[in-house]
Assembly symmetry: C2
Homo-oligomer: 353 residues x 2
């Protein structure tokens, strides 16, 4: 099977996707009978580029950006991202642009346009799933195309595809996680004796934290992820603003760190439970974990998610290291599942209300 | 889709499977368009029983054993297990008999007969996968039927279906795990101040340990599981006797426990790595884990497996509680995947040699 890709965004994650598709081309063809061609790229720097005959992932890696006249078949500029999505001769649109955590836009528009045009979508951008999952899922079902989003939480850690493939007829009644890498890293450094400022600067040097880390330290990144998990796995219909963010931020981290008892570890913890009225309440907060809590001993590079289920009881996934390579792998895994005809299978929550 | 089941063994796990199929019948029909009928049961106590018209799982739960004249269509005795497997009008044979850890028999014969007869197989018995995986997998492929075995390691924790569904084109270069519940429980109790004898007696009272716990404490159970993981996930072709079991058993546990440094935790650890010659070497041994090892803090009820991969780096699964209910769930998940036509997808190891 030949899958033609149009990628929105070609930054760290987009380039890592092309590299992995190039590196794994033989295994993907041999094991899953699928090969990939890029027929379009849309980036802020180079604008829209359509390659009607397609470029192999290895060519895309070698070409760099902007591709200009190195494009197979030549560049054909289109007026804007939505026109690009509609006109690019692609089977799958990759939404790999940067998240706007306050609105999810313009990624929601991108995904809606792609599904409207009958194209499968793989998004690593959390915005569309956090802000418009029900609508976009219904649209994908009507159109008979796939909407997959493994990389929106814990990079490519198989959360959604595991639930879909391996936890049939299962009620997920709640979850608990350490989902924000920057907070994990900074709190781990503080536990090792660094000041908050030095820990943040270290995270920035490593590329874990952004120039303004408040999105992470204030719990907004974790709230967006909690929303995705609650809406997809627990049948909720909340928005990131509905997630209770309590006692977070740099000042709280400094104060709580100073008040820890021996053996305790301070972590930014996400959780969600069903309420007595049948809704879902999600929280992000700093918790002083006792030494017998396995989450207390996760290092600064690890993220974790514990699912409470009615079939497997408690089931935990831990990601050892997350970087653009792991995010890219989630996109590749989604693409393979689309090629296998599993695109339209999304988790079906059976929740006790 | 109507799937007819013939179950070999109807003990704790077999009864839990029937109960879960009964409890989840609505969700399975609604979500996966599948319903199940038992057309045969073979137990040591009641012998072979064939119900040509089938019994709903709820009827099987209600009937108890031996079913005798309560069977729909009446009991029709057959001479032995192999004849039962060949003649029972079933789509799937469930191999739920007790493991013989030294040989894997007679379960290997059961599975071979079922596949030869063109029937899908779900086995919770580790023997056939530990001792005859390559042969049985090739036979299943020739016959165009499924051979699934999720419950052979960590109960129904989605190891094999996760690798198959969520880790495409991934090289698993090694693993590390706490896989034996009895050892975990006993060592956890010893860490809390109990003597080895008291800890073993407690495990026996809870049904975690058998009357003779040596199979667990000597590392034989873990060696069988390591063999399954190495052969399925890493492309090895080893047998349980090839797994190096080092410094195990009750005496070693007592000695090593007495020599622990403060903060260390003693655990029975399984690991496997590729050797320089392209083979796989697996070990079971007692390890004094330092306090910053997340495995050091797992409680006596938890089991865990860390996979080293080339795509997701380190990925860990932790099962919070294991009992016949979780083992049964793995069987149910395998049955659902057979109903979805995923029966013939088995993990395809791409290993670097």
């Amino acid at each position: 099977m030949d899958l033609r890709l149009a990628s929105l965004g070609h930054g760290n994650v987009g380039r890592a996707v092309a590299r992995m598709l190039a590196d794994k081309a033989d295994e993907l063809l041999r094991g899953y009978d699928v090969w990939f061609r890029y027929t379009g790229l849309y980036t802020r720097s180079a604008g829209p580029e359509i390659m009607p005959e397609g470029m192999a992932p290895a060519q895309v890696v070698a070409a760099g950006l902007p591709m200009g006249d190195r494009l197979t078949g030549g560049s054909r500029p289109v007026s804007d991202a939505l026109t690009f999505i509609r006109t690019c001769p692609a089977d799958v649109v990759l939404e790999l642009t940067t998240l706007n955590p306050q609105s999810g836009q313009p990624a929601i528009e991108h995904v809606r346009a792609a599904l409207d045009a009958g194209k499968h979508v793989v998004t690593a951008n959390k915005g569309p799933i956090a802000y418009a999952y029900r609508e976009l899922r219904a649209l994908a079902e009507r159109q008979g195309v796939a909407l997959r989003f493994e990389s929106t939480v814990m990079d490519g850690t198989p959360i959604f595809s595991m639930v879909e493939a391996s936890l049939p007829a299962t009620v997920i009644s709640g979850f608990r996680g350490l989902l924000n890498s920057t907070s994990n890293y900074v709190l781990d450094r503080m536990a090792k004796g660094h000041s908050l400022e030095v820990a943040i600067a270290g995270a920035q040097r490593l590329g874990v934290a952004e120039a303004d880390p408040s999105n992470d330290l204030d719990g907004w990144d974790a709230a967006v992820k909690a929303t995705v998990l609650a809406n997809v796995l627990m049948g909720a219909d909340i928005r990131p603003g509905d997630v209770a963010r309590e006692g977070l931020g740099a000042d709280a981290m400094r104060q709580r760190h100073g008040a820890l008892l021996p053996g305790q570890a301070l972590k930014q913890v996400v959780d969600a439970v069903h309420t007595v009225t049948g809704g879902v309440q999600a929280h992000v907060r700093l918790e002083a974990l006792p030494p017998d809590d396995p989450f207390a001993h996760l290092s600064g590079n690890e993220t974790a998610l514990l699912l409470h289920t009615d079939t497997m009881q408690d089931l935990t996934l831990i990601e050892g290291q997350g970087d653009p390579g792991q995010t890219a792998f989630g996109v590749v895994a989604d693409l393979v599942n689309i090629a296998r005809g599993r695109g339209r299978d999304v988790p079906r929550p059976y929740y006790a209300v």
